[in-house]
Symmetry: C2
Subunit: 214 residues, 2 copies
């Protein structure tokens, strides 16, 4: 058996190698088309060992979503240092997000696209990560509002809406950047920062856009 | 058989009723959980008639995605009148989008969430609609750039990125508005217009946000 022949290695290490191979395969070929044979081969282990460690294709995929979602949240959070000006915090967060999604395009495909394309269970895993990101972005917008001393004038619901808009824009741009030749993480972050900050900055200063009468 | 007992009605009309029932059922319960029995009952026809007209659950679902995607694109396009100022065109388009997604929340769930959650074939149907919307938004941004006489300074790729950001923000906000009590279509459109227009308006005037040195 491959499990016996394979070099001795701690289970935790070998499991990470299997997840690496699985993320690459799921991200590249899609959940449906990806086979456990391919994943085992890419990981350099036998298929029975993959089943022994991760139980099933479903559980392997769930483990991939969880690991990559956590890695993305960590990358964004650790990119931002509190105490800096609000626009700098937002920029750092966006740059960390686009750098991570560009560096790990298969991981981004797994958490954003694949996880939402193959049933409610996987979608719920990805949704939990998204909520964390929205909460973090909400906190960054609150920092910006505090900096502009506008807290009382920017209702909680408006902040929530802005955070949803910004996260949706970032998701869309990351997918676009990863599928468009020559768009760097820095360019994608700059486009979104220009779009978002110039808008947010005006809002914080009370320069709202006024809709025409209904 | 229900097909025989049911009142005489043109096939096209009866098919639309089946699609109405299917959209509501898929949107409310999810693609997996929705049963053909429920859909037939809600449509007031026999299950064999649903199969006779639409062949299978997969084809019925595909027909739902296509119809609702086309309806959304039509709603957005017909909400916008050319010749008006750029910000008014953008506002009209956003308002039409949020009014439509609020009025037909099950349809929005089908084209945006369900279609992307149950396999690549359905996801491709929804992606085709999304491309149409992105192309339309791109044309609106080009109008804004022309109005500001900035065409030569706003590269095509930047416009494409801004359109992706705006569409992603709109998708995210529509889902949020439909699942958050008391957020009206007009409020969602105003939030996004404030976010987007103040930002776009600055960009068109050459007031870019400058990232810190790498």
């Amino acid at each position: 058996m491959g499990a016996v022949k394979a070099k001795r290695m701690p289970r935790a290490v070998r499991e990470q190698q299997m997840l690496d191979a699985a993320v690459e395969t799921f991200g590249q070929r899609g959940y449906m088309a990806a086979s456990m044979d391919e994943i085992a081969e890419l990981a350099g282990v036998s298929k029975p060992l993959v089943y022994l460690y991760l139980n099933s294709k479903e559980e392997l995929f769930t483990a991939c979503i969880r690991r990559e979602a956590a890695a993305l949240v960590t990358a964004v959070r650790s990119g931002v240092r509190t105490g800096l000006p609000a626009d700098r915090q937002l920029w750092d967060g966006l740059l960390a997000f686009f750098v991570h999604t560009a560096a790990y395009p298969h991981a981004w495909s797994v958490v954003h696209l694949q996880a939402r394309t193959h049933g409610e269970t996987f979608a719920a895993e990805a949704a939990a990560m998204r909520e964390e990101i929205v909460a973090f972005v909400t906190s960054l917008i609150v920092v910006a509002a505090r900096e502009a001393h506008r807290d009382p004038d920017l209702p909680e619901r408006e902040v929530a809406g802005l955070a949803e808009a910004l996260v949706g824009a970032a998701e869309s741009l990351a997918t676009w950047a990863n599928t468009t030749d020559g768009v760097t993480a820095r360019q994608a972050a700059t486009t979104l920062m220009n779009f978002a900050w110039a808008g947010l900055s005006n809002l914080m200063d009370g320069r709202n856009w006024t809709p025409p009468a209904a």
